[in-house]
C-alpha cells in the first residue's frame, strides 16, 4: 500500500473498546478493542464463523454489543458513543458520513430503480432538490466507477455482478463519507472482475482519503486494500498489525495456517 492519508492527524475516527456479543452461549465476539484513524484501511480477516461479520455489525451500530462500546468522531470533531446516538442521528450518519458495501449488491441497491436514482438517493435524502445537479453528480460517479453513462437510466437488475458492485460503491461514496464498511466486497465475483474492482476501490480510497473497515476471508484482498489487519478466530482478535507484517511474518499458529493456505499465484 502506498496511498496513505495524513497519519500525523492524531485523533482516531472510530474507537472500539472491549466489544463483546453473544448468541446464546456462543460468544460471537469477545473483548475487541482498537482505534481507526482517518484515511486508514483496516482489514478484518478470518474464516467463516470467526466472528468478523458480527464485529462489522457491532462497529456499524447495526447490532448492540453485550459489552463494551463503539465511539465515532462526528463531523463536528466530537467523539460520541454510538449507543447514545438517537436513531435519527444514527441513520443520518449511515447515509451521509458512512458507507456500507454489502457482499450481495441486491442488499445495498434498489434493484428496480435506475442507476442514476440509486446514486442520487443519498443526495435527495440530505435535501438535494435540483434534478439537473443530482443527475450530473450521479453521472460523474458512474464515470468514476467505470460504468458507461449510457446505462444511467437502466436498473441494476440489468447489470452484471461486477457492475452492480461498482454501482453500490458509487451509491455509497456520493455523499463523500469518511468511513466505509465493506463486507466481503469481492465475494462471488469472477477473478478478473475482482481485480478490476479491487484496483478501483484502492484508487478511490486513496483519492478520497477514506477510512475503511473491510471484512474478508481473502488475504489477497487484505494485502491490496488495507494498511492494517486484524486476524479473528473464535470471536477473538488473535493477531493484529501492519498488513504486510502480519502476512509476511505471521506469529500466531492460526495466522500461519491462513497464510500458508494461499495457493501461490
Amino acid at each position: 500500500m502506498s496511498e496513505l492519508a495524513n497519519f500525523d492527524d492524531d485523533q482516531p475516527l472510530l474507537v472500539a473498546e472491549g466489544l463483546g456479543k453473544n448468541y446464546g452461549r456462543l460468544a460471537a465476539c469477545r473483548d475487541v478493542s482498537f482505534a481507526l484513524y482517518p484515511g486508514e484501511v483496516l482489514a478484518i480477516v478470518g474464516e467463516s464463523g470467526s466472528g468478523k461479520s458480527t464485529l462489522l455489525q457491532l462497529l456499524s451500530a447495526q447490532l448492540a454489543p453485550r459489552a463494551g462500546r463503539v465511539s465515532y468522531r462526528m463531523r463536528d470533531g466530537v467523539l460520541r458513543d454510538l449507543a447514545e446516538l438517537g436513531e435519527a442521528e444514527r441513520r443520518f450518519l449511515f447515509r451521509t458520513d458512512w458507507g456500507f458495501v454489502h457482499q450481495d449488491p441486491a442488499q445495498g441497491l434498489r434493484m428496480g430503480v435506475s442507476a442514476g436514482a440509486n446514486v442520487g438517493e443519498r443526495l435527495m435524502a440530505v435535501g438535494w432538490n435540483h434534478y439537473g445537479r443530482i443527475r450530473d453528480t450521479a453521472s460523474t460517479w458512474l464515470d468514476r466507477v467505470e460504468i458507461d453513462i449510457g446505462r444511467i437510466d437502466d436498473a441494476p437488475k440489468t447489470y452484471s455482478g461486477g457492475m452492480r458492485q461498482r454501482l453500490q460503491i458509487a451509491r455509497n461514496l456520493v455523499t463523500e463519507p469518511r468511513l466505509v464498511f465493506m463486507d466481503e466486497p469481492t465475494g462471488g465475483l469472477d477473478v478478473s472482475v475482482q481485480a478490476r474492482l479491487l484496483d478501483l476501490m484502492r484508487n478511490l480510497v486513496g483519492e478520497l482519503g477514506l477510512a475503511a473497515i473491510v471484512v474478508t476471508h481473502d488475504l489477497a484482498v487484505a494485502r491490496l486494500l488495507s494498511h492494517r489487519v486484524m486476524v479473528m478466530k473464535g470471536g477473538r482478535v488473535i493477531e493484529t498489525g501492519l498488513t504486510d507484517q502480519v502476512l509476511d511474518d505471521p506469529r500466531e499458529p492460526y495466522t500461519q495456517l491462513l497464510v500458508s493456505s494461499i495457493l501461490p499465484p
Partner: protein, 294 residues
C-alpha cells in the same frame, strides 16, 4: 317481516367512538397515518369502506351529505353510498357542493371552493406514499417517524429520467404542515393545490389498510417537486363541451366507435350550476332521444 332497524349511520356507537378517537389523533398530527380497527362493511373493499366508516363516525342527524365518485354525483358508487346513509341515518342528501356539510369523495376534490364547517371525506385505497419503493411497513413507519423522505424524490427522479418530466398524474405526494409526506388518494394532481390552506376539514379513510389521516382546516399542503422541475397542474387543453368552463378538470368521453369524443367537466354539480347560470359549450346536455323502435 319488518325491515331491520339499523343503529344511526349503521355502525354501533362503540365503533364510532373508536373511529372518532382515531380521527382526533389524525387531526392533531396532520398527515400522520393513524391505525384503526376497520370493520367489515356491507360493501366490498375498494368501494369506499374506509370513507364510509369515517362518514358514519362523524355524521349527525342535521348533516347534509353529498357523495361523489370521480367528481360525479350519479355513478353507481356515489348513488349506493348516498342511499346507504339515507337509509341507515336518514340524513338529508344533496348534490350541491355548497349545501353539503359532509362530502364523501372518491378520486376528486370539487371545483367550487369549500367553506368553513364542511368536511371532505376521501376514500383511500393505499395510504402509504412510500409503499411502491419500500415494501416493508416497519421501514416506512420509521421513515415517517424520522422524516426520511429522500425516497419520495427517487420516484419523481425516475419519472423525469424516463419521461422528461414528472409524469405522476394522480396520487401525487404532498407534504403536510411541513412534516409528514402524504398520499392524497388517487385524486388527479390538478386537485393538489385545493388541499392547501383549505377552509374545510379533510379526512382520509383507508378501510382495507386500516388507516385514517387528516388535514385540518387552513393547513399548508405542498406538492413535492424539484427546483428545476416544479410542480405543475394538468388538464386537457379544451373547454368543457357542456358548460364551456376552461378552468375545470375534464373527463374524456368517447361518444362513438369512430374516434368521436368530447371533454366535459368531471365535477357534475359544478357543470350543472354553470349551465343553469347560462354558460354553455358546443354540445347540449339534453338527453339524446332514443330512436323509436319500429
Amino acid at each position: 317481516m319488518n325491515a331491520p332497524t339499523y343503529n344511526f349511520a349503521y355502525l354501533d356507537e362503540q365503533t364510532k367512538r373508536m373511529i372518532r378517537r382515531a380521527i382526533l389523533k389524525a387531526i392533531a398530527i396532520p398527515g400522520y397515518q393513524v391505525p384503526f380497527a376497520s370493520r367489515e362493511m356491507p360493501m366490498p373493499y375498494g368501494w369506499g369502506t374506509g370513507g364510509v366508516q369515517v362518514t358514519a363516525a362523524i355524521l349527525g342527524p342535521d348533516d347534509v351529505l353529498k357523495v361523489i365518485d370521480q367528481g360525479s354525483d350519479d355513478t353507481t358508487n356515489a348513488i349506493s353510498i348516498r342511499k346507504f346513509f339515507g337509509k341507515t341515518a336518514g340524513v338529508a342528501t344533496t348534490t350541491s357542493t355548497m349545501d353539503a356539510t359532509v362530502i364523501q369523495t372518491r378520486h376528486r376534490i370539487p371545483e367550487a371552493s369549500l367553506h368553513a364547517g364542511q368536511v371532505l371525506v376521501y376514500q383511500v385505497p393505499i395510504p402509504e406514499p412510500l409503499r411502491f419503493l419500500e415494501p416493508r411497513e416497519t421501514e416506512t413507519r420509521r421513515m415517517h417517524a424520522l422524516a426520511e423522505y429522500g425516497l419520495m424524490h427517487v420516484k419523481l427522479y425516475e419519472d423525469i429520467a424516463r419521461f422528461g418530466h414528472i409524469a405522476t398524474a394522480y396520487a401525487y405526494p404532498v407534504k403536510v404542515n411541513a412534516r409528514y409526506v402524504m398520499d392524497p388518494s388517487p385524486t388527479p394532481k390538478f386537485d393538489n393545490p385545493k388541499m392547501d390552506n383549505c377552509a374545510a376539514l379533510q379526512l382520509f379513510g383507508a378501510g382495507r389498510e386500516k388507516r385514517i389521516y387528516a388535514i385540518p382546516p387552513y393547513t399548508t399542503v405542498v406538492s413535492l417537486d424539484f427546483e428545476d422541475h416544479p410542480f405543475t397542474r394538468y388538464r386537457f387543453n379544451a373547454p368543457c363541451a357542456l358548460c364551456g368552463a376552461d378552468n375545470s378538470y375534464l373527463d374524456e368521453i368517447v361518444t362513438d366507435d369512430r374516434g368521436g369524443r368530447m371533454f366535459v367537466c368531471s365535477d357534475t354539480d359544478f357543470c350543472e350550476q354553470r349551465q343553469a347560470a347560462g354558460h354553455h359549450g358546443t354540445e347540449s346536455a339534453a338527453p339524446h332521444k332514443e330512436k323509436a323502435h319500429v
